[in-house]
């Protein structure tokens, strides 16, 4: 499994969702809460440091925050080819291919701008790599994946690039906008309990091979 965990942090730094996908022993809920608020703080500190680093590095306008669209991230591989028809066929592929309020066979199809310009977008350690997608409202969607090894030439190794991660995380944001925001029993800023949201996140992550 390439993705080890998905986290959602609200704008005040509170953890509202976490799901562990690896077989390794999971942290306690309390540990996750601490990770979330630590990240929230580290993200803010890093943001204060970034501009100077960027200035030193390159000419002012050179940074491009465009994320390319990568087709069918988070969908079953077969889907990428025969993507039509499946929506309303009743048997095997039912909810799996429903994109809720989003029409078509993918949530979006255009490259897009990252709102996260000076915060941490990717954090590499020898244990894992972490990707952070921050929305204009201040939500953070976080993916933790297996580490990128030094010799990245081995194509069999399940590596998640930052582009794939940003595509995936924006899709989880789309799922959040359907299954969390349109749930009348969800209280804003509070932990997400919706099993529908959880199911769809797990499904999407399981398709990242």
């Amino acid at each position: 499994m390439a993705i080890k965990a998905i986290l959602v942090i609200n704008k005040s730094g509170g953890l509202v969702y976490h799901r562990n996908f690896s077989n390794e022993e999971s942290l306690s809920s309390n540990d996750y809460l601490i990770i979330a608020s630590t990240l929230h703080g580290a993200f803010a500190i890093a943001s204060q440091l970034t501009p100077r680093a960027v200035q030193l590095g390159e000419a002012s306008n050179a940074v491009d925050y465009t994320i390319p669209y990568i087709p069918y991230v988070g969908f079953p591989r077969s889907n990428a080819n025969q993507n039509e028809k499946s929506r309303f066929s009743s048997n095997n592929v039912s909810i799996t291919t429903s994109l809720g309020s989003f029409k078509g066979d993918d949530y979006f199809k255009e490259p897009f701008q990252s709102w996260n310009k000076s915060g941490i977008r990717q954090l590499c350690t020898d244990q894992f790599t972490m990707f952070i997608y921050q929305t204009m409202t201040g939500l953070k969607f976080i993916a933790i994946s297996t580490q990128i090894p030094a010799n990245v030439n081995n194509s069999d190794y399940p590596i998640i690039s930052i582009q794939v991660a940003d595509n995936l995380l924006r899709k989880i944001y789309c799922v959040y906008s359907d299954y969390v925001m349109k749930d009348p029993f969800y209280s804003m800023e509070m932990p997400i309990k919706s099993e529908l949201f959880d199911q769809r996140v797990r499904q999407m992550v399981s398709n990242i091979a």
Binding site: S47, L99, G100, Y107, Q113, W115, K117, I120, M136, G138
Partner: protein, 197 residues
């Protein structure tokens, strides 16, 4: 990217983006289901508040606010639009993208204040109030579509724009046009997520 582009060009691309997302990326339903559901809400509120229309207006506004703070996430996830630099581009996004994508209408933007911090939207069509005719006692007091003001207020606040939103006139009340006013009070700079600049 949008810094250097001239306003008309930007407005045109927003119009295009709004139409494209409405057409290709958005699931739709019969507008009458929407109209009927809203009608049921308003008429129930009128009963609940014993035809105290001032109270009904407030309740619709607060219901709208609660929708707006959630709806903004749908809008942003769907469009991934960059932050607006000023109220002029905000007005374009609201009319050509938000109204288009959610309600398939594009209100006309007009009546700018001198400081360019307030503008009006003229709603020629309004799916909330299709087939609606107000009874006499409601004509002078009820803002039938007041939920829209709450939605805009809530949604804009979540992207750190503190705005007042209210109806100036409504064809349902016998006015010649339906005009909705949006006025920026201030940009909530402290609440802009760190990492965006």
């Amino acid at each position: 990217m949008s810094n250097s582009s001239s306003m008309p060009a930007q407005a045109k691309s927003l119009k295009h983006a709004g139409e494209d997302i409405w057409k290709n990326r958005t699931e739709k339903v019969n507008a009458e289901l929407f109209t009927l559901t809203y009608g049921a809400i308003v008429s129930q509120l009128c009963t609940d508040y014993e035809r105290n229309f001032q109270k009904v207006n407030e309740q619709l506004y607060s219901m709208g606010y609660n929708i707006g703070v959630r709806l903004i996430e749908d809008f942003l996830a769907r469009t991934a639009l960059p932050r607006c630099e000023n109220m002029v581009s905000t007005s374009e996004v609201v009319s050509k993208c938000a109204f288009k994508i959610f309600l398939n209408i594009t209100p006309q933007i007009t009546n700018w204040s001198h400081e360019k911090d307030a503008f009006s939207l003229i709603l020629v069509e309004n799916p909330l109030s299709d087939f609606v005719e107000l009874p006499m006692d409601a004509m002078k007091q009820l803002w039938y579509s007041n939920i829209l003001c709450g939605v805009l207020r809530g949604a804009l606040e979540m992207v750190q724009l503190d705005c007042d939103v209210w109806f100036i006139s409504d064809v349902l009340r016998g006015d010649p046009q339906t005009e909705l006013r949006i006025k920026l009070n201030k940009v909530l700079k402290d609440e802009i997520p760190i990492g965006e600049d």
